[in-house]
């Protein structure tokens, strides 16, 4: 019995040390292999938070009421958008060193550098298309009125009454906007409300042949679009 126990002790004592050495080798090699993996994970330091913050700041600068493109908050003028590429560097100097791309409904407006792999921020906007409409109404009677077919924020009234006829007052929706007892003659810019249809009423003494009153206004036709700003730092 003593001999058998001693025999097993011999085997363990002699084999233990190499087994321990092999075990240590295994653990150390695993540790160094995992260091390679960790190195790869840490090596890829991305600048994503800064990219996202700058893209959001630039998108807000484009879309806010302060923006050179905007007529009011979130409503951008179409002709100014089309010319953005030329005016971008002077209008937005804080974006000078960036690789960026600005698209409207997937159509590229401005591209600087190579913004592949950057982060994007999207905003919803309305694109306002303003063309000038002119109407020359034929007015007759003593209280003559014409209603503008589209809403606008201002209307330019050009009055050229024939001699012998005086236009004393112009009312918009029963509110007096122009009044001259000596007679209105010439071009006047009248501000009206965007929110209501404008009915222009003239107080006239005498006939007004067609062509003596001309109204020019710029209604906005809007369509929705998505403005996307991509920044790669």
């Amino acid at each position: 019995m003593w001999g058998a126990d001693a025999g097993r002790g011999i085997g363990r004592a002699q084999a233990n040390l190499p087994a321990f050495a092999i075990a240590v080798l295994l653990v150390t090699s695993t540790a160094s292999l995992s260091l390679f993996v960790v190195d790869g994970a840490f090596g890829a330091v991305d600048r994503e938070p800064i990219e996202r913050a700058r893209a959001a700041g630039l998108a807000a600068a484009l879309v806010d009421a302060d923006s050179p493109l905007a007529e009011r908050a979130n409503v951008l003028n179409r002709s100014r958008l089309a010319g953005l590429d030329a005016t971008f560097d002077t209008a937005f100097p804080s974006a000078s060193a960036l690789d960026l791309r600005i698209t409207l409904d997937e159509e590229v407006l401005v591209e600087r550098g190579t913004p592949t792999g950057g982060t994007s921020v999207r905003r919803l906007v309305l694109v306002a298309d303003r063309d000038t409409r002119t109407i020359e109404p034929a007015l007759s009677g003593s209280e003559q009125a014409v209603t503008l077919p589209r809403r606008a924020s201002s209307v330019t009234v050009a009055l050229d009454p024939p001699p012998g006829t005086t236009v004393t007052t112009l009312r918009v929706n029963d509110r007096v906007v122009l009044h001259d007892p000596a007679g209105l003659d010439g071009q006047y810019d009248v501000a009206i409300s965007r929110f209501e249809t404008a009915r222009l009423a003239f107080d006239v003494s005498g006939p007004l042949p067609p062509g003596s009153v001309q109204l020019r206004y710029r209604p906005a036709t809007t369509r929705k679009a998505v403005l996307e700003v991509t920044v790669d730092a």
Partner: protein, 159 residues
């Protein structure tokens, strides 16, 4: 009978190393290996990784400070004082840091040579000045004062 005793004696003599000494050698080897690993890791590998993590954290903190500053602008035509606050980490890689505003840029200053970043601010032209220095031991507060045509932003600790 004589053979039996010889076998026993030979067995006792052919042991290479006694278990006690063997275990001691194992312990010694183990301690050596652990010391080697620890010194290698803490000497070169870990400080680099801490700096990498610090760089990313500094980016996140500075981005948060930037967006908070840029959105603390009162609407045009308003003559009000606006103040916003955001939580930023107190330390990056174990040390406190500062964010300095000078005119058009926000700069994060940190004692470590790899951590530190400057970003330009994009604010409307109504904003005439952005001033202030913020230490990370205080909450980050941005205050906008002024009238409808000239707004000043100031970053700093809690009011």
């Amino acid at each position: 009978m004589t053979r039996h005793r010889r076998v026993t004696r030979a067995t006792a003599d052919t042991r290479a190393v006694s278990p006690a000494v063997g275990k001691t050698l194992e312990i010694g080897m183990g301690v050596l290996v652990i010391a080697l690993l620890t010194s290698t890791l803490y000497g070169s590998v870990i400080p680099e990784y801490r700096a990498d993590a610090g760089v990313e954290l500094a980016d996140t903190a500075l981005a948060s400070a930037l967006s908070t500053t840029e959105t603390t602008v009162p609407p045009p035509g308003a003559s009000v004082s606006v103040s916003t606050q955001v939580r930023l980490p107190t330390t990056i890689r174990g040390s406190t840091y500062e964010i300095v505003a000078n005119g058009t840029r926000l700069e994060l200053q940190h004692p470590h040579h790899r951590i530190g970043r400057t970003v330009p601010l994009s604010v409307p032209s109504r904003v005439v000045a952005v001033t202030g220095t913020w230490r990370s031991t205080k909450p980050f507060v941005v205050t906008a004062t002024g009238n409808r045509s000239a707004v000043t932003l100031h970053i700093g600790g809690a009011v």
